[in-house]
Protein backbone atom coordinates (compact mmCIF):
# COMPACT_ATOMS: atom_id res chain seq x y z
CA UNK A 1 0.00 0.00 0.00
CA UNK A 2 1.39 3.36 -0.96
CA UNK A 3 2.29 5.66 1.89
CA UNK A 4 3.00 9.29 1.36
CA UNK A 5 6.02 11.47 1.69
CA UNK A 6 6.88 15.07 1.10
CA UNK A 7 8.85 15.67 -2.00
CA UNK A 8 10.69 18.84 -2.90
CA UNK A 9 11.89 19.34 -6.43
CA UNK A 10 15.25 20.86 -7.17
CA UNK A 11 13.86 22.72 -10.17
CA UNK A 12 12.88 26.31 -9.50
CA UNK A 13 9.56 26.12 -11.30
CA UNK A 14 8.59 23.02 -9.34
CA UNK A 15 9.91 24.30 -6.03
CA UNK A 16 6.56 23.92 -4.27
CA UNK A 17 6.59 20.85 -2.02
CA UNK A 18 4.30 18.14 -3.31
CA UNK A 19 2.89 14.95 -1.89
CA UNK A 20 4.24 11.93 -3.64
CA UNK A 21 3.72 8.20 -3.52
CA UNK A 22 6.64 6.49 -1.97
CA UNK A 23 9.18 4.51 -3.83
CA UNK A 24 8.08 0.88 -4.11
CA UNK A 25 11.57 -0.08 -3.00
CA UNK A 26 11.42 2.09 0.09
CA UNK A 27 11.08 -0.67 2.70
CA UNK A 28 14.08 -2.43 1.20
CA UNK A 29 16.08 0.78 0.93
CA UNK A 30 15.33 1.81 4.51
CA UNK A 31 16.26 -1.62 5.77
CA UNK A 32 19.54 -1.50 3.87
CA UNK A 33 20.27 1.98 5.20
CA UNK A 34 19.83 0.69 8.73
CA UNK A 35 21.61 -2.59 8.12
CA UNK A 36 23.89 -2.66 5.03
CA UNK A 37 23.72 -6.45 4.81
CA UNK A 38 20.06 -6.03 3.90
CA UNK A 39 21.17 -4.58 0.59
CA UNK A 40 21.07 -8.12 -0.75
CA UNK A 41 17.36 -7.92 -1.51
CA UNK A 42 17.87 -4.86 -3.69
CA UNK A 43 20.86 -6.51 -5.29
CA UNK A 44 18.92 -9.63 -6.19
CA UNK A 45 15.99 -7.62 -7.48
CA UNK A 46 18.02 -5.44 -9.82
CA UNK A 47 21.04 -7.53 -10.73
CA UNK A 48 19.74 -8.82 -14.06
CA UNK A 49 18.31 -5.45 -15.04
CA UNK A 50 21.54 -3.59 -14.41
CA UNK A 51 23.54 -6.33 -16.08
CA UNK A 52 21.22 -6.33 -19.12
CA UNK A 53 21.53 -2.58 -19.44
CA UNK A 54 25.32 -2.79 -19.20
CA UNK A 55 25.50 -5.64 -21.68
CA UNK A 56 23.33 -3.87 -24.23
CA UNK A 57 25.54 -0.83 -23.89
CA UNK A 58 28.93 -2.50 -23.83
CA UNK A 59 28.36 -5.64 -25.90
CA UNK A 60 30.81 -7.63 -23.82
CA UNK A 61 30.01 -9.91 -20.90
CA UNK A 62 33.17 -9.17 -18.96
CA UNK A 63 32.82 -5.42 -19.36
CA UNK A 64 29.15 -5.71 -18.39
CA UNK A 65 30.12 -7.64 -15.27
CA UNK A 66 32.69 -5.02 -14.32
CA UNK A 67 30.16 -2.22 -14.76
CA UNK A 68 27.53 -4.18 -12.84
CA UNK A 69 29.89 -4.84 -9.96
CA UNK A 70 30.98 -1.22 -9.79
CA UNK A 71 27.35 -0.10 -9.87
CA UNK A 72 26.23 -2.20 -6.92
CA UNK A 73 29.32 -1.51 -4.83
CA UNK A 74 28.87 2.21 -5.44
CA UNK A 75 25.16 2.00 -4.66
CA UNK A 76 25.82 0.18 -1.39
CA UNK A 77 28.57 2.50 -0.21
CA UNK A 78 26.53 5.60 -1.07
CA UNK A 79 23.16 4.33 0.07
CA UNK A 80 23.14 6.55 3.15
CA UNK A 81 23.17 9.56 0.86
CA UNK A 82 20.28 8.34 -1.26
CA UNK A 83 17.20 10.51 -0.85
CA UNK A 84 13.83 9.61 -2.19
CA UNK A 85 12.46 12.03 -4.71
CA UNK A 86 9.46 10.26 -6.19
CA UNK A 87 7.02 12.44 -8.04
CA UNK A 88 3.29 11.86 -8.51
CA UNK A 89 3.87 11.84 -12.24
CA UNK A 90 6.17 8.87 -11.83
CA UNK A 91 3.11 6.75 -11.17
CA UNK A 92 1.98 4.49 -8.39
CA UNK A 93 4.79 2.01 -8.79
CA UNK A 94 7.54 4.50 -9.44
CA UNK A 95 10.85 3.66 -7.94
CA UNK A 96 13.24 6.47 -7.43
CA UNK A 97 15.78 4.01 -6.07
CA UNK A 98 15.98 2.37 -9.43
CA UNK A 99 16.32 5.73 -11.17
CA UNK A 100 19.22 6.44 -8.85
CA UNK A 101 20.64 2.98 -9.43
CA UNK A 102 20.47 3.32 -13.21
CA UNK A 103 22.08 6.76 -13.00
CA UNK A 104 24.99 5.06 -11.28
CA UNK A 105 24.96 2.26 -13.85
CA UNK A 106 24.98 4.78 -16.68
CA UNK A 107 28.03 6.49 -15.20
CA UNK A 108 29.81 3.19 -14.66
CA UNK A 109 29.01 2.09 -18.21
CA UNK A 110 30.40 5.38 -19.51
CA UNK A 111 33.56 4.82 -17.48
CA UNK A 112 33.84 1.25 -18.73
CA UNK A 113 33.38 2.48 -22.28
CA UNK A 114 36.18 5.01 -21.82
CA UNK A 115 38.46 2.27 -20.55
CA UNK A 116 37.42 -0.03 -23.39
CA UNK A 117 38.43 2.52 -26.02
CA UNK A 118 41.95 1.33 -25.54
CA UNK A 119 40.96 -2.07 -26.86
CA UNK A 120 38.74 -2.82 -29.87
CA UNK A 121 35.17 -3.79 -29.05
CA UNK A 122 32.69 -5.15 -31.54
CA UNK A 123 29.49 -3.16 -32.03
CA UNK A 124 26.57 -4.47 -30.02
CA UNK A 125 24.79 -5.84 -33.06
CA UNK A 126 27.69 -8.09 -33.98
CA UNK A 127 28.22 -9.70 -30.61
CA UNK A 128 25.18 -11.91 -30.23
CA UNK A 129 26.27 -15.08 -28.54
CA UNK A 130 25.38 -18.17 -30.50
CA UNK A 131 22.74 -19.94 -28.49
CA UNK A 132 22.25 -23.64 -28.28
CA UNK A 133 20.87 -24.80 -31.57
CA UNK A 134 17.45 -25.83 -30.45
CA UNK A 135 15.20 -26.03 -33.43
CA UNK A 136 12.20 -24.81 -31.52
CA UNK A 137 14.07 -21.72 -30.44
CA UNK A 138 15.64 -20.97 -33.80
CA UNK A 139 12.95 -18.65 -35.10
CA UNK A 140 12.76 -16.81 -31.84
CA UNK A 141 16.51 -16.53 -31.77
CA UNK A 142 16.66 -14.98 -35.22
CA UNK A 143 13.97 -12.48 -34.33
CA UNK A 144 15.77 -11.55 -31.16
CA UNK A 145 19.02 -11.16 -33.02
CA UNK A 146 17.42 -8.88 -35.61
CA UNK A 147 15.77 -6.76 -32.92
CA UNK A 148 18.99 -6.54 -30.98
CA UNK A 149 21.04 -5.60 -34.00
CA UNK A 150 18.59 -2.90 -35.01
CA UNK A 151 18.79 -1.46 -31.52
CA UNK A 152 22.57 -1.62 -31.61
CA UNK A 153 22.67 0.60 -34.67
CA UNK A 154 20.91 3.46 -32.89
CA UNK A 155 22.98 6.40 -31.70
CA UNK A 156 23.88 6.69 -28.00
CA UNK A 157 21.00 8.30 -26.14
CA UNK A 158 18.32 6.83 -28.37
CA UNK A 159 19.68 3.36 -27.75
CA UNK A 160 19.95 3.94 -24.02
CA UNK A 161 16.37 5.19 -23.86
CA UNK A 162 15.14 2.20 -25.86
CA UNK A 163 16.99 -0.31 -23.70
CA UNK A 164 15.69 1.30 -20.53
CA UNK A 165 12.15 1.33 -21.95
CA UNK A 166 11.91 -2.08 -23.59
CA UNK A 167 14.38 -4.22 -21.67
CA UNK A 168 14.36 -2.68 -18.21
CA UNK A 169 10.78 -1.44 -18.60
CA UNK A 170 11.33 1.89 -16.93
CA UNK A 171 8.66 4.54 -17.38
CA UNK A 172 9.30 7.62 -19.46
CA UNK A 173 9.55 9.68 -16.27
CA UNK A 174 12.12 7.30 -14.85
CA UNK A 175 14.17 7.32 -18.04
CA UNK A 176 14.06 11.11 -17.98
CA UNK A 177 15.53 10.91 -14.48
CA UNK A 178 18.27 8.55 -15.57
CA UNK A 179 19.22 10.49 -18.69
CA UNK A 180 18.77 13.93 -17.15
CA UNK A 181 16.30 14.96 -19.85
CA UNK A 182 12.71 16.16 -19.75
CA UNK A 183 9.93 13.62 -20.16
CA UNK A 184 8.91 15.24 -23.43
CA UNK A 185 12.42 14.94 -24.79
CA UNK A 186 12.54 11.26 -23.85
CA UNK A 187 9.17 10.61 -25.51
CA UNK A 188 10.42 12.19 -28.74
CA UNK A 189 13.71 10.31 -28.44
CA UNK A 190 11.92 6.97 -28.19
CA UNK A 191 9.40 7.79 -30.89
CA UNK A 192 12.16 8.68 -33.34
CA UNK A 193 14.12 5.61 -32.35
CA UNK A 194 11.10 3.41 -33.03
CA UNK A 195 10.65 4.90 -36.48
CA UNK A 196 14.32 4.40 -37.16
CA UNK A 197 14.23 0.77 -36.00
CA UNK A 198 11.07 0.16 -38.06
CA UNK A 199 12.87 1.38 -41.16
CA UNK A 200 15.93 -0.64 -40.29
CA UNK A 201 13.97 -3.84 -39.74
CA UNK A 202 11.86 -3.30 -42.82
CA UNK A 203 8.58 -3.07 -40.95
CA UNK A 204 6.10 -1.73 -43.47
CA UNK A 205 3.68 1.04 -42.67
CA UNK A 206 0.77 -0.69 -44.34
CA UNK A 207 0.95 -4.20 -43.06
CA UNK A 208 2.90 -3.61 -39.91
CA UNK A 209 4.75 -6.81 -40.76
CA UNK A 210 8.39 -7.43 -41.35
CA UNK A 211 9.89 -8.03 -44.76
CA UNK A 212 8.33 -11.07 -46.35
CA UNK A 213 6.23 -12.06 -43.36
CA UNK A 214 3.76 -10.87 -40.81
CA UNK A 215 4.52 -10.22 -37.19
Amino acid sequence: MARRALWRSGAAKDAVPRIAHLDRDRPLVEAAQREPARFEALYRRYLARVYSYAYYELGDHHAAEDATEATFVSALTNLQRFEERARPSDGEGASTFRVWLFQIARNEVAGERRRARRRPVEPIGETVVDPIDLEAAAVRRDEARAAWQALGRLPGERRQAMVLRFVDELSTAEIAGVLGRSEGAVRVLIHRALKSVARDMGVSKRSGGRRGSEL
Binding site: R45, R49, H61, T68, R140, F166, G184, A198, L215
Partner: protein, 169 residues
Protein backbone atom coordinates in the same frame (compact mmCIF):
# COMPACT_ATOMS: atom_id res chain seq x y z
CA UNK B 1 11.22 22.66 -38.17
CA UNK B 2 8.08 24.75 -37.71
CA UNK B 3 6.30 25.03 -34.40
CA UNK B 4 3.26 23.26 -35.82
CA UNK B 5 5.33 20.36 -37.05
CA UNK B 6 7.18 20.15 -33.77
CA UNK B 7 3.91 20.10 -31.86
CA UNK B 8 2.63 17.40 -34.16
CA UNK B 9 5.72 15.32 -33.51
CA UNK B 10 5.39 15.74 -29.78
CA UNK B 11 1.75 14.71 -29.89
CA UNK B 12 2.65 11.68 -31.93
CA UNK B 13 5.39 10.86 -29.42
CA UNK B 14 2.89 11.18 -26.58
CA UNK B 15 0.48 8.77 -28.27
CA UNK B 16 3.33 6.35 -28.84
CA UNK B 17 4.31 6.65 -25.19
CA UNK B 18 0.80 5.78 -24.05
CA UNK B 19 0.77 2.84 -26.38
CA UNK B 20 4.07 1.62 -24.96
CA UNK B 21 2.73 1.95 -21.42
CA UNK B 22 -0.13 -0.36 -22.34
CA UNK B 23 2.02 -2.71 -24.36
CA UNK B 24 4.65 -3.20 -21.69
CA UNK B 25 2.06 -3.64 -18.98
CA UNK B 26 0.72 -6.70 -20.75
CA UNK B 27 2.63 -9.94 -20.43
CA UNK B 28 3.45 -12.41 -21.70
CA UNK B 29 2.04 -11.94 -25.20
CA UNK B 30 1.45 -8.28 -25.87
CA UNK B 31 1.19 -8.82 -29.60
CA UNK B 32 -1.75 -11.13 -29.15
CA UNK B 33 -3.59 -9.01 -26.65
CA UNK B 34 -3.15 -5.60 -28.20
CA UNK B 35 -3.85 -6.45 -31.81
CA UNK B 36 -7.56 -6.10 -31.40
CA UNK B 37 -7.51 -3.64 -28.51
CA UNK B 38 -8.42 0.02 -28.69
CA UNK B 39 -4.82 1.14 -28.84
CA UNK B 40 -4.06 -1.46 -31.45
CA UNK B 41 -6.49 0.12 -33.84
CA UNK B 42 -5.74 3.77 -33.03
CA UNK B 43 -5.42 5.39 -36.46
CA UNK B 44 -3.30 8.22 -35.08
CA UNK B 45 -0.56 5.77 -34.22
CA UNK B 46 1.67 4.68 -37.07
CA UNK B 47 1.25 1.03 -37.98
CA UNK B 48 5.00 0.68 -38.36
CA UNK B 49 5.62 2.10 -34.89
CA UNK B 50 2.97 -0.22 -33.46
CA UNK B 51 4.43 -3.22 -35.19
CA UNK B 52 8.02 -2.58 -34.23
CA UNK B 53 7.02 -1.80 -30.64
CA UNK B 54 5.26 -5.15 -30.34
CA UNK B 55 8.24 -6.88 -31.83
CA UNK B 56 10.76 -5.25 -29.52
CA UNK B 57 8.57 -5.89 -26.50
CA UNK B 58 8.49 -9.60 -27.19
CA UNK B 59 11.77 -10.31 -28.97
CA UNK B 60 14.43 -8.29 -27.22
CA UNK B 61 16.33 -10.70 -25.01
CA UNK B 62 17.25 -10.04 -21.44
CA UNK B 63 20.50 -11.09 -19.94
CA UNK B 64 21.40 -12.57 -16.64
CA UNK B 65 25.00 -12.81 -15.50
CA UNK B 66 26.45 -16.18 -14.64
CA UNK B 67 25.42 -17.59 -11.29
CA UNK B 68 29.07 -17.70 -10.34
CA UNK B 69 29.36 -13.96 -10.91
CA UNK B 70 26.11 -13.37 -9.02
CA UNK B 71 27.34 -15.21 -5.95
CA UNK B 72 30.83 -13.72 -6.12
CA UNK B 73 29.42 -10.21 -6.22
CA UNK B 74 27.03 -11.06 -3.40
CA UNK B 75 30.02 -12.08 -1.30
CA UNK B 76 31.88 -8.89 -2.16
CA UNK B 77 28.85 -6.81 -1.22
CA UNK B 78 28.68 -8.72 2.06
CA UNK B 79 32.27 -7.74 2.73
CA UNK B 80 31.55 -4.11 1.91
CA UNK B 81 28.45 -4.21 4.10
CA UNK B 82 30.45 -5.68 6.96
CA UNK B 83 33.11 -3.00 6.66
CA UNK B 84 30.39 -0.33 6.70
CA UNK B 85 29.03 -1.69 9.97
CA UNK B 86 32.38 -1.80 11.75
CA UNK B 87 32.72 1.90 12.61
CA UNK B 88 29.17 1.96 13.94
CA UNK B 89 29.23 -1.18 15.99
CA UNK B 90 31.67 -0.55 18.79
CA UNK B 91 33.34 -3.75 19.86
CA UNK B 92 32.19 -5.65 16.82
CA UNK B 93 34.48 -8.47 15.91
CA UNK B 94 34.37 -7.58 12.25
CA UNK B 95 34.19 -11.12 10.98
CA UNK B 96 32.99 -11.32 7.41
CA UNK B 97 29.75 -13.20 7.10
CA UNK B 98 28.19 -14.00 3.74
CA UNK B 99 24.94 -12.13 3.32
CA UNK B 100 23.01 -15.36 2.97
CA UNK B 101 24.04 -16.41 6.47
CA UNK B 102 22.65 -13.23 7.90
CA UNK B 103 19.30 -14.13 6.47
CA UNK B 104 17.96 -17.45 7.61
CA UNK B 105 15.56 -19.31 5.40
CA UNK B 106 12.65 -18.11 7.48
CA UNK B 107 10.20 -15.79 5.72
CA UNK B 108 11.32 -12.20 5.65
CA UNK B 109 9.11 -9.49 4.26
CA UNK B 110 12.09 -7.38 3.32
CA UNK B 111 13.67 -9.94 1.07
CA UNK B 112 12.96 -10.21 -2.61
CA UNK B 113 10.89 -13.33 -2.85
CA UNK B 114 9.64 -15.60 -5.55
CA UNK B 115 7.03 -13.89 -7.62
CA UNK B 116 8.35 -10.54 -6.48
CA UNK B 117 10.22 -10.03 -9.71
CA UNK B 118 7.93 -8.08 -11.98
CA UNK B 119 10.47 -8.72 -14.70
CA UNK B 120 9.47 -12.35 -14.93
CA UNK B 121 7.71 -12.98 -18.20
CA UNK B 122 8.01 -15.11 -21.28
CA UNK B 123 10.82 -13.17 -22.90
CA UNK B 124 14.04 -14.88 -23.88
CA UNK B 125 16.58 -14.83 -21.09
CA UNK B 126 20.19 -15.33 -22.02
CA UNK B 127 22.64 -16.36 -19.37
CA UNK B 128 25.84 -14.38 -19.41
CA UNK B 129 28.90 -15.70 -21.20
CA UNK B 130 30.76 -16.22 -17.96
CA UNK B 131 28.51 -19.14 -17.18
CA UNK B 132 30.69 -21.13 -19.54
CA UNK B 133 33.22 -21.19 -16.76
CA UNK B 134 30.74 -22.64 -14.35
CA UNK B 135 30.25 -26.31 -13.73
CA UNK B 136 26.90 -26.19 -15.42
CA UNK B 137 28.18 -25.70 -18.97
CA UNK B 138 25.23 -23.63 -19.99
CA UNK B 139 27.22 -21.31 -22.20
CA UNK B 140 24.91 -19.43 -24.44
CA UNK B 141 21.86 -21.26 -23.27
CA UNK B 142 18.83 -19.78 -24.87
CA UNK B 143 16.04 -20.27 -22.45
CA UNK B 144 12.60 -18.80 -22.25
CA UNK B 145 11.63 -19.34 -18.68
CA UNK B 146 10.05 -17.52 -15.84
CA UNK B 147 12.96 -16.70 -13.65
CA UNK B 148 12.65 -17.94 -10.10
CA UNK B 149 9.33 -19.58 -10.84
CA UNK B 150 10.14 -22.38 -13.25
CA UNK B 151 11.24 -25.76 -11.98
CA UNK B 152 14.17 -25.57 -14.40
CA UNK B 153 15.46 -22.32 -12.96
CA UNK B 154 15.17 -23.70 -9.46
CA UNK B 155 16.91 -26.92 -10.45
CA UNK B 156 19.80 -25.03 -12.02
CA UNK B 157 20.24 -22.84 -8.98
CA UNK B 158 20.03 -25.82 -6.67
CA UNK B 159 22.57 -27.75 -8.72
CA UNK B 160 24.89 -24.77 -8.76
CA UNK B 161 24.67 -24.35 -5.01
CA UNK B 162 25.37 -28.04 -4.51
CA UNK B 163 28.61 -27.58 -6.42
CA UNK B 164 29.71 -24.60 -4.35
CA UNK B 165 32.13 -25.43 -1.53
CA UNK B 166 29.97 -25.99 1.50
CA UNK B 167 26.89 -25.43 -0.59
CA UNK B 168 25.13 -28.64 0.25
CA UNK B 169 25.43 -32.34 0.66
Amino acid sequence: MSLIRRDGGEIEALITDRYLDSLLAIQPSPSLVLDGGPLGSDPSLSAAVRAVSRRLATDLPRFHPSFRFEERLALRLAEVAASMRLPVAAGAEGALVPIRELHPATPDSLRATEGDDEWADARPLLIGGAVAASALSLAGAWLAWRRRTSPMARAIRAAHQMRQPGGGA
